[in-house]
Amino acid sequence: MSAERWKEDEGLLERLRKGAPGAVDELLRQYQGKIFNLAMSILKNESDAEEAAQDVFMTVIRKVDTFKGNSAFYSWMYRICVNTCLMRLRGKRRNDTVAIEEFMPVFTEDGMHASPMDDWSKEVERKALNEELGMMIRKFTEELSEKYRVVFVLSDIEGLSNEETAKVLGMTVPAVKSRLHRARLYLREQLSRYLKEGKVE
């Protein structure tokens, strides 16, 4: 986060606190795209994401007085957004998530790899992330349960560092790393299966 950006946020915060005219518009202009994207990544549904975005901005405006300047404004907002989205999901029973355990690597009793392991890294490296592969990765990650998906979205899609993700989610850095690792193990396995099937056909 650049110093300039930080200063801009400071100014915006000050105007929001005072209820200055145009402050809400500015807040929206700066952040509605980001918040909407994050809400879409978690909720996967446009009307849910819209309602969540409303809630998020309402919360931000109402709580702007209690915001302490010791964390970055955007990370505070992301945190509100994630919490809002998770609250929305809590009531809904999702039946389209996969059990991540089924995609963890399988080992024998003495801890050796239970099945042969292909190295498809070179083959994939040569391709840029083409549309099909990108869509598959996206589909696979959307099937993850929230616990893992939210961490994955913040770290790998929003590009936050582990420390930032931890701050947004109120988790420890090791817990973030561990969930991210499992999400990637899952994705690795899904990609393996997908690439293998592609070859057979």
């Binding site: 609250m87 690597p105 498809w120 990765i137 990650t141 790998d156 193990l185 690795r188």
Partner: protein, 170 residues
Amino acid sequence: MNCKELAYLLADYFDGSMDPRMRAELDGHMAMCEPCMNFAKTYRMTCRKASELRKCIEYKIPDEVRERLASFLVAATEKFPEQMEEYHLQVERERREKVLAFCRAAIEAKLSSMAALLVESHCANCRECKEYFDSVLKTRGLNGPHPEEIQEHVTRLMESLPPDEEFFLA
């Protein structure tokens, strides 16, 4: 070190946060084990492709949504319920209980060999933890709550073990 343990340590291995001694263990294993080598390569490639995805996911916010959002916010003044914390409190409670169980297992020498190796390798580099475990072993008792720092370190150790694997011996 076996293949399973290696698989769950790969994140640290690739982000460079791994202690050199542990790193050498992993390198040694991979040099002898083709499945692990291939697993590590494809894991790394997965991370790379996942991070490229960021550039191509962009949900465009529809104009109507933009407009509704603006008019909603300008109009709205109602109170909003508090929405946070409860969830985090629970996570924190569970964490404390797990750390306590881990330290008990350490005192009773009931840690699995992998867990013991992690503790040993960590303590070689961390004075606080070394002193803590030494003193706890001497008095054979957990006096009061753990210092926050120890809690954090022990949590980190536990999280590098394979999931659902008990860290102590039956």
